[in-house]
C-alpha cells in the first residue's frame, strides 16, 4: 500500500524536530505504542498493540534510518511481526518544511503486509492508517502546545486525550506513520 500526507504543526521546524526526538512525546502520541528501544544510532525496536478489524496482536518492530538530514527529514525502513496475525514491512520518507511560523511534516510511505492482516484487514488498512495518522498528529500537536511551543495558531488541532487507548492503535500506524515516528523516538 502507498500513503502520502502532510500535516501542519503550529511550531517552528527545530521545535518539531526536537519533539520528534523526544521519546515521551512520541510514545504518548503513537497509538498503541508500549515500548521503544534504541539498538544503535540508526536502529530501533518497538512494541505496539494494534488492531485492524478482526485482527488483534502485539507487534514487534525494527526500524532502520538513513538519509538523516536534521532538521529537514530522513528515510526509514522497518518491519514488524505480529505472530499469527501477520507481518508488515515498509519504507517512509519524511520531510519538514517551514510554513510561516509553523512546520509542515510531509510523508510518503510504501509498505506491504502479510498473513491474516493482508487477508482480512486489507480493506481496512487504508482507512485505519489515515485515522491513526490523524490521531498521532493530534496528540503530537497537543504535546507541543503543552510543552510551551508557540501557541495561538489557528490550525492547531484540539487537544487529544493524553493517553491513546491501545485498541485504537492500528497496524498501519506501525507501518506508516508509526515508522516515521519510531526512528525519532530515540534519535
Amino acid at each position: 500500500m502507498d500513503m502520502t500526507g502532510e500535516q501542519r504543526i503550529a511550531a517552528p521546524r527545530q521545535a518539531v524536530w526536537d519533539a520528534l526526538n523526544d521519546a515521551d512525546a512520541l510514545k504518548a502520541a503513537l497509538p498503541g505504542c508500549e515500548e521503544v528501544n534504541k539498538i544503535s544510532d540508526t536502529e530501533f525496536s518497538a512494541k505496539l498493540k494494534l488492531v485492524v478489524g478482526p485482527v488483534k496482536a502485539q507487534f514487534s518492530g525494527q526500524v532502520t534510518l538513513s538519509d538523516i538530514d536534521a532538521p529537514n527529514g530522513y528515510t526509514l525502513a522497518g518491519q514488524g511481526s505480529g505472530g499469527a496475525a501477520g507481518f508488515g514491512k515498509g519504507e517512509a520518507k519524511v520531510t519538514l518544511t517551514d510554513d510561516g511560523e509553523g512546520t509542515v511534516i510531509s510523508y510518503t510511505v510504501h509498505a506491504t503486509v502479510g498473513g491474516k492482516l493482508a487477508q482480512i484487514g486489507q480493506r481496512l488498512i487504508d482507512a485505519t492508517a489515515k485515522k491513526m495518522a490523524r490521531q498521532f498528529f493530534e496528540s503530537f500537536a497537543a504535546y507541543l502546545e503543552a510543552e510551551g511551543a508557540p501557541a495561538g495558531e489557528a490550525a492547531a488541532p484540539a487537544p487529544a486525550p493524553a493517553k491513546v487507548a491501545g485498541g485504537q492503535g492500528l497496524f498501519w500506524g506501525m507501518m506508516g506513520v508509526a515508522l516515521v515516528i519510531l526512528w525519532v523516538v530515540n534519535h
Binding site: F87, V113, G115, K116, Q119, Q122
Partner: protein, 785 residues
C-alpha cells in the same frame, strides 16, 4: 403398485426426501460431532507467500496452558509420515513425465504460498490451541513471490521448486502445430481472441474440518470429515500414516456442506490432524475457520488463453488453435495439472466440428494455493473460450451468430473428437432452437427499445456448450432387500446435495416395485461402502451409481424369480416380474413376500443362499473415452447502466440435454445451481493475490464477491432429452452443465449490450468497475480515431 411407480418412478418430479431433515436442522455435519475426551488442534499458517524456513521455535507454545503437543514438519519427517504425490501420468512435449511434487503435510524447507500450514498445536480446548499458536516463533527468510501463470514463465521469475527452474510442471500438446498451420495458411479468415479465466474460491458452506478419533485399543483411526468419497481419504491416510493398511482407517461423513470438487481432495491438514491423533493416541478435532478456507482450500479455474479459429469462405471451421497457461499454484495436486487437458481438453472444441486441432497447455507453478477441480473442472473454461470466439467470429465474418453455430455444430454421431472422445449423441441445433423460443429471442428488439428509453442498454447473449461427464469408469453399489421388504441402497457414491436418496429410490422403486418410502440410502462410511467405490464428482453418480443399482436390482430379480418359482410351484423360466410382483401359472407373490421367504431358509429352494442382497461393480464398457456428453444452449438477457457500469441479469433460459431426466425437480435445481455459480464467476467472483507480496487480498467475504439472490433473475430450465447410448439409464449428468453455459451466455449478453458503445472485449468478472472502464476506454479510442 402402479400408483406409486407413476408418482415416484423414474422421470417424476419427486420432492427430495433429504430436505425435511436438513431444513429442520437435523443434518449432522462434522462440527456437530463431539467425542468424549476429544482435544483440539489449531494450525499456524505461513504469513509469507514464499520464504525459506530457518527455524520454528515452539518452546513457549509447548508450555502454554492446556497444550498437549506442538508439531512441525520436522516431527512428521522424523516419524516417517509419507508425502502426497499426484498420480497424473501425462507427458511433456519431449516424452518425459510431468514434474511431480512430494508434499509433506507441514513443510520443512520452504513455504510456497501464504496460508500454508507450518505448525500445529494440540490443546485441551480450541481457545488454548489458538492462543498457543500465537506463541510459536516462525523464523523464515522471505523470498520474492510470483502469483500469475504468465509471470511464473517470465525470465528471472521466482522459482518455487529448485528442481523446476522454469516453473512449468507440464508442457503438453496434442500434436505439432503443422496441421493447423497448413489449414490456417489457406483459410478465408482467422479469428483470434485472448481471454483470462478468473480464479475463483469454491467457498463451500462448511469449512474444512476433521475429527480424527484414535482407538488406542484397536489402533484404528476413524476420520470424520466432509469428503465427496471416503475411500480416497481412507486410502491416502492409510498410505501416509499406516503403511498402507486400509483396515486401520475408517472415514465417516454424514452430511457434507458443499463439495464442488474442492471436497474431493486429500488436504495436508487432514493428514496432519490424523498424524496428531495417532501420535497422541487421542481424539483430535480441528475446525478450520472461514479465513483458513479462503487461503487453503483448492481454488478453481485460473487460466490465460490465446485461441484462434480458421474459417473457410462459407464460415466452416477448418481448424482450432489453442494455447493455454494454467496457474496450478504451489503444489502439483491430484488433478490440477490435468484439468485443462483431461477435463477441458475432452470437449475442447465445444459443440463444434473441429477437423484440425492444435492444443498446447502449460501448467505453471506459482506462490498461490493450488487450483484443482471446481464444478465443471476444465469444461467451463473450454466452452467459454470457444463460445467467446464463435461470437467474435460471427461479427468478423459478417454471419449471424446463430447461423455460424448451426453451420459448425457436430451433426453426425457418434463423433470422435480430436482428443479421441466419442460423443455418442446430441442435437445441438434443437437445443438452440428451444432456448431461442423460450427466451423470446425474436422479441428482443422492442425490449431493447424500452430499456433504451429508460437510459439503459439491453443485451442478449447465447452460448451452446458440450460437457463430458462421468469421471472414473467404475463404481460399486449394493442393494439389499430386508426381511420386511424395505430396501437399503448401500453406496459407493456420496450425496452431498445431489439428492441421491431421492433419485436412487426412484430407480429402485420403478425397477422393483418397492414403495419409495421403504427405500433408504446408506452412505458416507468406508465400513459399509462396497469395494471398488469411487465417490461423487464429475456429474457421475446417476450414470455410474445409478447403472450399478439397476444391475444389482436385475440380479436380485433373477434370484427373486428362483424363490418365487419355489413358492408358486412353477419353473423359474415361467416366472415373470412386473411392477413388484412375480407371477407364474396364474399365481403371484409380491417382492415383499419373496423377500420374507428369502430370509427364511425353510422356504428357500435347496442350495440357494438366503437373503436378497447384491453388490454390483459396474465398469463402463468404453472406459474413460466413453463418457456421457451433456450439452445445451443457454441464453441470458441483461441490462447495463452505462453511467455506472452495473449489470442487471434480467432473464435466463436454459435448454439442456442431460439425457434421460430421472427427476426434473432435482435436475432443475442442479441447472439453477450451476448457472448461479457460473454467473458468480462471470459477474463478481474474483481471486486476487498481491503481485508484489503474494498475499491473498480477497481473503474474506468483505473482499470476495459471492453472487447473491438479487444478482440472479428467474431461470427457466427446459430439457431436450436425447438418452445417452453409453448407459442403460440414458442419463448424461447434469450437475456441472450450468457452469459451462452461464459464463459465455452472460458475457456475450453484456458485450451485446455494449456493442453500440464500441466495446469489443471484456474479461470476467464483469464488475461495474471493469465495465465502466471498458466503456470509457472505448469512448477514448473512438475519439482518437
Amino acid at each position: 403398485m402402479e400408483a406409486f411407480t407413476e408418482k415416484f418412478g423414474i422421470g417424476q418430479p419427486v420432492r427430495r426426501k433429504e430436505d425435511q431433515r436438513l431444513l429442520i436442522g437435523g443434518g449432522v455435519y462434522t462440527d456437530d460431532i463431539n467425542i468424549e475426551g476429544q482435544v483440539h488442534l489449531a494450525f499456524l499458517r505461513a504469513p509469507y507467500a514464499h520464504a525459506r524456513i530457518n527455524h520454528i521455535d515452539t518452546t513457549a507454545a509447548a508450555q502454554a496452558p492446556g497444550v498437549l503437543a506442538v508439531f512441525t514438519g520436522r516431527d512428521l519427517e522424523k516419524d516417517g509420515v509419507g508425502r502426497v504425490e499426484s498420480n497424473i501420468n501425462l507427458k511433456q512435449l519431449d516424452g518425459t513425465p510431468i514434474f511431480k511434487t512430494q508434499r509433506l503435510a507441514l513443510p520443512t524447507d520452504k513455504v510456497r504460498f501464504a496460508g500454508e500450514p507450518v505448525a500445529m498445536v494440540v490443546a485441551e480446548t480450541a481457545f488454548q490451541a489458538a492462543d498457543a499458536v500465537e506463541l510459536i516463533i516462525f523464523d523464515a527468510d522471505q523470498l520474492p513471490a510470483v502469483v500469475t501463470a504468465r509471470a511464473a514463465g517470465a525470465q528471472g521469475a521466482a522459482v518455487l521448486h529448485d528442481e523446476l527452474p522454469d516453473n512449468c510442471a507440464l508442457h503438453w500438446q496434442n500434436d505439432t502445430p503443422d496441421a493447423y498451420d497448413a489449414v490456417a495458411a489457406k483459410a478465408h479468415k482467422i479469428v483470434s481472441i485472448a481471454l483470462t479465466n478468473n480464479r475463483v474460491v469454491p467457498v463451500p458452506m462448511e469449512p474444512k474440518c476433521c475429527i480424527a478419533e484414535m482407538n488406542p485399543g484397536t489402533g484404528r483411526l476413524t476420520i470424520y470429515a466432509p469428503f465427496q468419497g471416503g475411500r480416497r481419504v481412507q486410502g491416502a491416510v492409510a498410505d501416509l500414516l499406516f503403511d498402507g493398511e486400509r483396515d486401520k482407517v475408517r472415514h465417516v461423513s454424514d452430511n457434507t456442506g458443499g463439495g464442488f470438487g474442492t471436497r474431493s481432495k486429500i488436504y495436508p491438514e487432514i493428514i496432519a490432524v490424523c498424524y496428531a491423533a495417532k501420535s497422541l493416541g487421542r481424539t483430535v478435532k480441528w475446525l478450520g475457520d472461514r479465513s483458513e478456507t479462503f487461503v487453503s482450500d483448492l481454488h478453481g479455474r485460473d487460466q490465460v488463453n490465446s485461441a484462434q479459429l480458421a474459417f473457410d469462405a462459407d464460415g466452416k471451421i477448418l481448424g482450432y488453435r489453442l494455447e493455454t497457461l494454467v496457474n496450478i499454484g504451489a503444489w502439483v495436486t491430484e488433478n490440477g495439472a490435468r484439468l485443462a487437458i483431461d477435463g477441458g481438453g475432452r470437449i475442447v472444441g465445444g459443440a463444434y466440428d473441429i477437423p484440425v486441432l492444435y492444443y498446447s497447455c502449460r501448467n505453471m507453478m506459482t506462490n498461490t494455493v493450488s487450483t484443482d477441480t471446481y464444478r465443471g473442472a476444465g469444461r467451463p473454461e473450454a466452452n467459454y473460450i470457444v463460445e467467446r470466439l464463435m461470437e467474435k467470429a460471427a461479427h468478423e465474418l459478417g454471419i449471424d451468430p446463430q447461423e455460424l453455430r448451426r453451420r459448425n455444430f457436430i451433426k453426425t454421431f457418434p463423433y470422435t473428437t480430436q482428443m479421441g472422445m466419442k460423443v455418442d449423441c446430441g442435437d445441438f441445433a434443437a437445443c438452440m432452437d428451444m432456448a431461442l423460443a423460450n427466451s423470446d429471442w425474436a422479441g428482443f428488439g422492442p425490449r431493447a427499445a424500452r430499456s433504451q428509453a429508460g437510459g439503459k442498454l439491453r443485451g442478449i447473449g447465447l452460448a451452446s456448450f458440450l460437457e463430458g461427464a462421468g469421471g472414473r469408469p467404475e463404481e460399486t453399489m449394493r442393494v439389499q432387500i430386508q426381511e420386511d421388504g424395505s430396501v437399503n441402497i448401500i453406496c459407493g457414491t456420496f450425496s452431498h446435495g445431489q439428492g441421491h436418496g431421492t433419485v436412487y429410490s426412484q430407480i429402485v422403486s420403478e425397477k422393483m416395485g418397492v414403495p419409495f418410502t421403504a427405500i433408504d440410502l446408506i452412505q458416507g462410511d468406508t465400513d459399509t461402502a462396497p469395494a471398488g467405490a469411487s465417490g461423487t464428482y464429475g456429474s457421475r453418480s446417476s450414470q455410474m451409481g445409478g447403472v450399478a443399482i439397476i444391475r444389482a436390482c436385475d440380479i436380485i430379480i433373477e434370484k427373486g424369480k428362483v424363490i418365487a418359482s419355489h413358492l408358486l410351484q412353477a419353473d423359474t423360466a415361467e416366472v415373470t416380474f412386473e411392477a413388484g410382483t412375480f407371477s407364474a401359472r396364474g399365481g403371484s407373490v409380491t417382492m415383499a413376500e419373496v423377500a420374507k421367504a428369502a430370509h427364511d431358509t425353510r422356504r428357500l429352494p435347496d442350495g440357494l443362499q438366503p437373503g436378497l442382497d447384491e453388490t454390483y461393480h459396474y465398469t463402463r464398457d468404453g472406459g474413460r473415452d466413453d463418457q456421457s456428453f451433456p450439452n445445451g444452449c443457454h441464453i441470458c438477457e441483461v441490462e447495463v447502466d452505462p453511467e455506472t457500469g452495473a449489470v442487471e441479469m434480467l432473464a435466463y433460459s436454459a435448454a439442456d440435454d442431460c439425457g434421460t431426466v430421472l427427476n426434473p425437480l432435482i435436475v432443475h435445481g442442479q441447472v439453477h445451481g450451476g448457472v448461479a455459480q457460473g454467473i458468480g464467476q462471470a459477474l463478481c467472483e474474483h481471486t486476487v493475490y498481491d503481485e508484489e507480496t503474494g498475499q491473498l487480498l480477497t481473503g474474506s467475504f468483505m473482499d470476495y464477491g459471492m453472487p447473491r439472490a438479487h444478482h440472479l433473475s428467474h431461470m427457466a430450465a427446459e430439457f431436450n432429452p436425447i438418452p445417452s447410448t453409453n448407459n442403460e439409464l440414458g442419463v448424461k449428468g447434469a450437475g456441472e452443465a450450468g457452469c459451462c453455459g452461464a459464463p459465455p451466455a452472460f458475457v456475450n449478453a453484456v458485450l451485446d449490450a455494449l456493442s453500440s458503445l464500441g466495446v469489443k472485449h471484456l474479461d470476467m468478472p464483469l464488475t461495474p468497475n471493469n465495465i465502466w472502464r471498458a466503456i470509457h476506454q472505448a469512448k477514448a479510442e473512438g475519439e482518437t480515431h
